[in-house]
């Protein structure tokens, strides 16, 4: 019953904001923040529930699976729920300050709530077609949010994203239709059961290809990544932080994991394809990131590279690989949101995102500088920050399953990550201050609060990880149910 709450609450919030946001000043801010706080609390409560009873199932309207819809939460789903709602909470906190430079910001909050409905729905849905419906809901809200600034560049980026995303959705829908025709059920568990009883047909390979293309487009793996840098760099920064932090992971990686590992079943060929895709994204993303001089574009390419790590972890197919991938997913959403918040702070104070024009901000914006250094080091995988442990687990998983070359390349890509982040830090924060940039001070309260919370999560998870690993993480990962 608590599960349906994750869908209903943001819908109600969106309706309320749509009705009253135009007339009541600051209503949309407070309603959106309140909703995300409630949702985050609910996700922690669900985590507690799942820890005791391992899997939650709720049948909508009491109809049984072949035609009726179930919502399901197992360990992995709850993990994603916590991540998504935590990030959306922090994004909402700092958009209090940031969105003031836009007109009609209640529309932003209403659409953001609808996007949250979509993401939560994708996570908890136990029915393939219902997953598609929520995926479309999240995508449509995201297309509109990318175009929120209505400048020429953001409209162009939104159009490109909308077309690419719609192709991906239609591929996924065709795959779902084919699976239905083969098994005549839509519930994930039933499909898995039916498929286990039949010999593997040619049709299943075709469906796998369709799903792979669709989800890789949604997750922006390298041959399919063209939309991501444009969409991330021209969207308003809270939207970029959400897109990069949780959106592409929920719609791309989590949905892919669900479909491949718990419905169709992963074959060795599929795992090989995943590993190659991950490797290519990891390297290409890192090299492209070095060449950028726009902060947000650099972070966008860095996202592609880090998503490559997650995919390569999944490609191991072993439990430790998937656990490392899930942990890196969490870490990436934390540090990438923090980096986007920092870029928003810098942009709102100096009016520029171009790294060649910015210099010497460390003295004027000390909090931003310190938090962004922490995020960068976590991204590059330096001990004892959180990113180090997840990369270590992924590389260990690669080594254990015998992919030595992949492990080596992953280490090298990590060094590249360190290189471009240090380059960025030196240009923006730790260089000789420029005369034009005088009179700049720390950005508003929302920025500071959100970045302090995120930076302390990075530090605490990193330092406490060796102590927590046996008591919390191992039992948690053991019932990820993959």
């Amino acid at each position: 019953m608590i599960l349906i709450f994750f869908v209903i609450t943001p819908i109600a919030a969106a309706f309320l904001i749509g009705l009253a946001g135009r007339y009541v000043k600051n209503f949309s801010d407070s309603a959106a923040n309140l909703t995300t706080v409630i949702l985050f609390a609910a996700s922690l409560y669900t985590l507690n529930l799942v820890n005791t009873c391992h899997i939650l199932v709720y049948k909508i309207g009491g109809w049984l699976p072949p035609a009726g819809i179930c919502v399901v939460a197992d360990g992995l789903a709850v993990f994603m729920l916590v991540t998504v709602n935590l990030i959306s909470l922090l994004v909402m906190i700092y958009s209090i300050n940031y969105m003031n430079s836009y007109t009609e910001k209640w529309k932003f909050h209403a659409l953001y709530m609808l996007m949250l409905v979509g993401m939560n729905g994708v996570i908890i849905s136990g029915d393939l077609f219902n997953l598609y419906v929520f995926l479309e809901l999240a995508s449509i809200s995201a297309y509109a949010l990318v175009a929120f600034g209505t400048e020429a560049s953001s409209l162009e980026a939104a159009f490109k994203y909308a077309i690419m995303g719609s192709i991906a959705s239609l591929f996924i829908l065709l795959g779902i239709a084919l699976l239905y025709s083969y098994t005549s059920t839509l519930s994930m568990f039933d499909i898995a059961a039916v498929l286990a009883g039949k010999p593997r047909a040619f049709l299943i390979n075709f469906v796998s290809v369709l799903f792979l293309a669709g989800f890789a487009l949604k997750a922006a793996l390298v041959p399919f990544h063209a939309w991501l840098p444009d969409a991330h760099s021209s969207a308003p920064t809270p939207v970029s932080a959400t897109l990069s932090g949780v959106f592409i992971k929920t719609l791309g990686i989590y949905a892919m994991l669900r479909v491949f590992f718990s419905v169709i079943g992963a074959t060795s060929n599929l795992l090989l394809v995943l590993m190659v895709l991950g490797l290519v994204s990891m390297i290409a993303g890192a090299f492209l990131a070095i060449a950028q001089n726009d902060m947000k574009r650099m972070f966008a390419y860095s996202s592609i590279s880090q998503v490559g790590y997650i995919i390569i972890g999944l490609g191991c197919g072993s439990l430790i690989g998937i656990a490392g991938a899930a942990f890196h997913l969490f870490n990436h959403s934390i540090f990438k949101s923090l980096l986007f918040i920092n870029s928003a702070a810098v942009e709102s104070q100096t009016g520029s995102r171009n790294m060649d024009k910015l210099s010497g901000l460390a003295a004027k914006m000390p909090l931003t500088a310190v938090t962004s250094v922490m995020a960068s080091l976590s991204a590059a995988g330096l001990p004892p920050l959180a990113g180090f442990w997840s990369k270590l687990i992924i590389i260990m998983a690669l080594w254990i399953s015998g992919h030595y070359i992949y492990a080596l390349i992953a280490v090298l890509a990590s060094i590249l990550t360190l290189a471009y982040f240090l380059l960025m830090q030196r240009k923006i924060f730790f260089s000789e201050p420029n005369q034009e940039l005088s009179g700049i001070k720390e950005a508003g309260f929302g920025f500071s609060l959100a970045s302090i919370i995120l930076a302390s999560i990075i530090a605490v998870v990193g330092v406490a990880f060796p102590f927590l690993v046996n008591s919390i993480f191992v039992p948690f990962w053991n019932f990820l149910g993959v």
């Binding site: 449509i140 209505t150 020429a152 409209l155 239709a177 025709s181």
Partner: protein, 112 residues
């Protein structure tokens, strides 16, 4: 079997239009054609030869009925397709206002 194959050809026609055409409106039309082909496919997988429409009237026995679930799915996908088309056409109009053209090769302010 040949029905399914033709349906797939329709999908490919839409995909060709979407990938090769330069006009934004043409691209959106291609998206529409792909949607039609998927709707068609959903109806086809529920079809049985000599079946009857799955709408219940009183005093009718249930025999050899067309599978109703794909039809419900088809209705949902039509609505989803409508809202996507709405949004994308809106984007196209705004792009035309900003750039003065529908030609995708001239709309290149971003590097991609």
């Amino acid at each position: 079997m040949s029905l399914y194959f033709l349906c797939f050809i329709l999908f490919c026609v839409g995909l060709y239009c979407l990938l090769r055409k330069r006009n934004i409106i043409k691209i959106i039309i291609g998206l529409g054609i792909i949607e039609y082909s998927v709707n068609m496919f959903l109806i086809l997988i529920g079809y049985r030869t000599n079946g009857r429409a799955p709408i219940f009237a009183r005093n009718q026995e249930i025999s050899n009925m067309v599978d109703p679930l794909p039809q419900a799915l088809c209705l949902t996908t039509i609505v989803i397709g409508l809202s996507i088309t709405l949004l994308v056409v809106g984007l196209a109009v705004r792009i035309y206002e900003k750039y003065g053209t529908f030609d995708i090769t001239k709309i290149r302010r971003l590097k991609g």
